[in-house]
Symmetry: C2
Subunit: 228 residues, 2 copies
């Protein structure tokens, strides 16, 4: 049961976010990696609208997740999953070749794929209805689709990006793909759809997701004037 | 003299690119890290318009750089600079805390900062003149500026992101900032402007830049009909 108030590792996440963001906030990556690794962690839940005064000294962009473990403080979900992978050994091969291939896929997910996908999310969610977003939509969708095709072609009939072993590269790639859940785009690529489903069926993913959502349920804002 | 046709390490780069991209193509990161580390490398120059047929098997997105070293093949500039940092020890502290703090900044540069900056480049360069780009410009600039402010505030009067030691985190962050060279935005933040200038003054950076530009000069397309 990785969420443990007495754990040494601490993950900072949000207390609550609006529904469109539930299940995709990036602490999910850290939670998932820790579940896969069987490492306990305690949650530090902060308010998305009102961050702690000194949080910027820990996370210069005031985003989540951040990690503390002993005297190490760090941020960036990509770096955090690498830390967890190296700490546990389960998610990151120890032979140099396998190790760098896995790390390379973390960067590919976050730098070659996610920006294209988040640009479609900007258009469809954050700026929906704006004139520029309407004009931009088709181009942004085409570019995101091209990235999906590249990963799908790479995967072919492989189970995971580097074959039979699930690594931090797969973990981060799948969390990136999840940002397209408001579309049917991943389903246009059957190999990719099956890959995402395979990853999300992992018990560690399911536990991580439920723990993120549990925090949001517990801290759901009450509509004003509806006090019992 | 790191560029050495007999070197074991191979970096794939472009033979030539249009002027707006010269000096910012991402093999610059690999070249710079190799220069800092004093590691020789050979260049494999490919055509940006016509990639080798099997290049997609090496680099699923058909971009540069890619690296080969012995039986290791890898892509993604962020992962490549980490590889070089670990191989040499010069650019990446070996104590766990210092090491993860440096790696975190590589991810921050590529995932928290670069997407905002590249969205401004899309608007100003790749889609300049399009209606959506005109409507989007102010918002994209404001978001990029917010990211610059965050890094500038973090830097304060530090020499490098983590204090006195230059790491792969600084190396990648500065190459990200270079994408704003068509604007005056970095200069709006004096600490950031000084930081970028300090990094670009490093002899290793200057050699890396000259080697990228030398390839472009050598392979400059000749205007048709101007054969001597």
């Amino acid at each position: 049961m990785p969420v443990n108030p007495n754990a040494e590792i601490e993950i900072t996440a949000y207390r609550w976010v609006p529904e469109f963001a539930q299940g995709v906030v990036r602490d999910l990556r850290a939670r998932w990696a820790l579940e896969e690794a069987g490492l306990d962690y305690r949650e530090r839940l902060i308010d998305v609208q009102k961050k702690p005064d000194d949080y910027v000294k820990e996370q210069p962009f005031e985003q989540v997740p951040a990690l503390r473990d002993g005297d190490l403080q760090m941020f960036e979900s990509g770096a955090i999953v690498q830390y967890i992978g190296e700490k546990s050994g389960d998610l990151l091969p120890t032979d140099p070749k396998g190790r760098y291939r896995a790390i390379q896929w973390v960067f590919a997910a976050l730098n070659s794929v996610e920006p294209a996908i988040m640009n479609l999310v900007l258009v469809d969610v954050f700026f929906a209805g704006e004139e520029w977003a309407k004009l931009r939509r088709e181009g942004a969708a085409d570019f995101a689709r091209l990235k999906l095709k590249r990963i799908s072609d790479w995967l072919g009939d492989k189970t995971w990006l580097e074959g039979h072993r699930f690594t931090i590269g797969d973990l981060v790639m799948v969390t990136v793909l999840r940002n397209l859940r408001h579309t049917d785009m991943v389903a246009e690529f059957p190999a990719l759809e099956a890959y995402q489903a395979r990853a999300e069926a992992r018990p560690a993913f399911q536990r991580a997701l439920q723990d993120q959502l549990a925090a949001f349920r517990e801290h759901q804002p009450q509509p004003e004037g509806e006090a019992a």
